[in-house]
């Protein structure tokens, strides 16, 4: 898509002059500001570290501005997501080569939980309000006890499903089912849905 649009756009730019050349850049800059929260959430979901996510966001903005000529208003959001994802994957590749981070990124056997400080990034960018966090807590408590326990142990305590199954004395498949159903119920919770859609 980018290569298809690049040729048309460059032709328009040369015909329009300096004033129109600034427009795509302003468009991209404005979009980066407008969607900063969602872009950082995507980066946090990929990298699971707020510092890396913020670093990737900065690089994404630079890359996006440099490539602003290829941007289209109608597909701008998806285009920025793609650039963000590419930057995140690049950082992952670099970190996998770094011996210091090898244990964290390369070893998928050991499960790490999303730390409170990393989750705090979404509060800082305004994607998680106190009201929404409280609502999630209330929805969690309304879940059946077993689903609630599995979600808490997996997401908050960072236990593997195998460890949870052992602790709860349940088959692994059962634990996975509880997890999936519990998260689906959280997503479908009407009170939560209205806040998430805001």
């Amino acid at each position: 898509m980018l290569s298809q649009n690049a040729g048309k756009h460059s032709a328009n730019e040369t015909r329009s002059g300096d004033g129109d050349e600034r427009t795509p850049r302003l468009l991209v800059e404005g979009a980066c500001v407008q969607w900063e929260a969602d872009l950082k959430a995507l980066l946090l979901g990929v990298l699971r570290d707020r510092h890396l996510a913020e670093d990737a966001f900065q690089k994404m903005v630079v890359k996006a501005i440099e490539s602003a000529g290829a941007a289209r208003a109608a597909t701008l959001r998806g285009w920025l997501f793609r650039i963000a994802l590419n930057e995140a994957r690049q950082i992952q590749r670099e970190n996998r080569r770094d011996a210091v981070h090898r244990a964290r990124f390369a070893n998928h056997v050991s499960v790490e939980r999303l730390r409170v400080e990393d989750a705090g990034l979404l509060v800082d960018v305004g994607l998680l309000s106190d009201e929404l966090v409280q609502s999630i807590g209330q929805s969690l408590v309304r879940l059946p006890q077993m689903q609630q326990e599995v979600i808490r142990r997996r997401i908050y305590e960072g236990l593997t499903f195998a460890e949870i199954a052992t602790q709860m004395n349940q088959p692994l498949g059962t634990v996975l089912t509880w997890m999936r159903r519990g998260l689906q119920r959280l997503q479908e919770d009407s009170g939560l849905r209205s806040l998430l859609d805001e």
Partner: protein, 184 residues
């Protein structure tokens, strides 16, 4: 991987995969395939954003519930340090106030001066007057009080030196001044 492909065909399946992706539950192969799909379908990126938001919300909600039950456990090192700092500051301030009150005599205008303080002030005034006119007599009792008051006065060396330099007439004729003091 067949299960992965099947789940990719439905919205529910994609939502579940997005959650697994954020929770790092996918294998290397599945993770790479999902990221390739994200690069082509922005909708999957939106699902990852939602999944990240939900899991982060769960983390913060659980953290909030834990700290609500045991507030004293939350960040003990930080709260202890802060408490120690506040206590130290209060103790220092209190000591300073006590020191000031014990060292600085009350002014007459405050109306709370004790009779001893008034007597000491009067003695000091008389002493100063005597210093100015050496022939003046000082009452014995007042002299002892004045001496005590004088003993409490800590006159810095530099002031004494300055006074000596300003009053060359006070120096006796028998004293030999060092050369560097012969300024004139």
């Amino acid at each position: 991987m067949n299960d992965f492909s099947e789940q990719m065909k439905s919205i529910d399946g994609q939502e579940w995969l997005a959650l697994q992706y954020v929770l790092e539950e996918l294998s290397e192969e599945q993770r790479a395939a999902f990221e390739e799909a994200m690069a082509v379908e922005p909708g999957l990126c939106e699902l990852v954003v939602d999944a990240c938001r939900l899991t982060a919300g769960v983390v913060l909600a659980c953290e909030g519930a834990r700290t609500a039950v045991r507030p004293s456990v939350v960040q003990p090192s930080k709260s202890m340090t802060a408490r120690f700092g506040v206590l130290a500051a209060c103790a220092s301030l209190l000591a300073l106030i006590v020191l000031l009150r014990s060292s600085v005599p009350n002014h007459p205008g405050e109306g709370t001066a004790s009779s001893d303080d008034v007597a000491a002030a009067d003695a000091l005034v008389e002493l100063l007057q005597d210093q100015l006119s050496p022939g003046g007599e000082v009452d014995g009792d007042m002299e002892s009080v004045a001496d005590d008051s004088l003993a409490d006065l800590m006159v810095p060396e530099w002031l004494l030196t300055a006074v000596d330099l300003d009053e060359p007439a006070a120096v006796s004729d028998d004293e030999v001044l060092p050369d560097e003091l012969n300024l004139f």
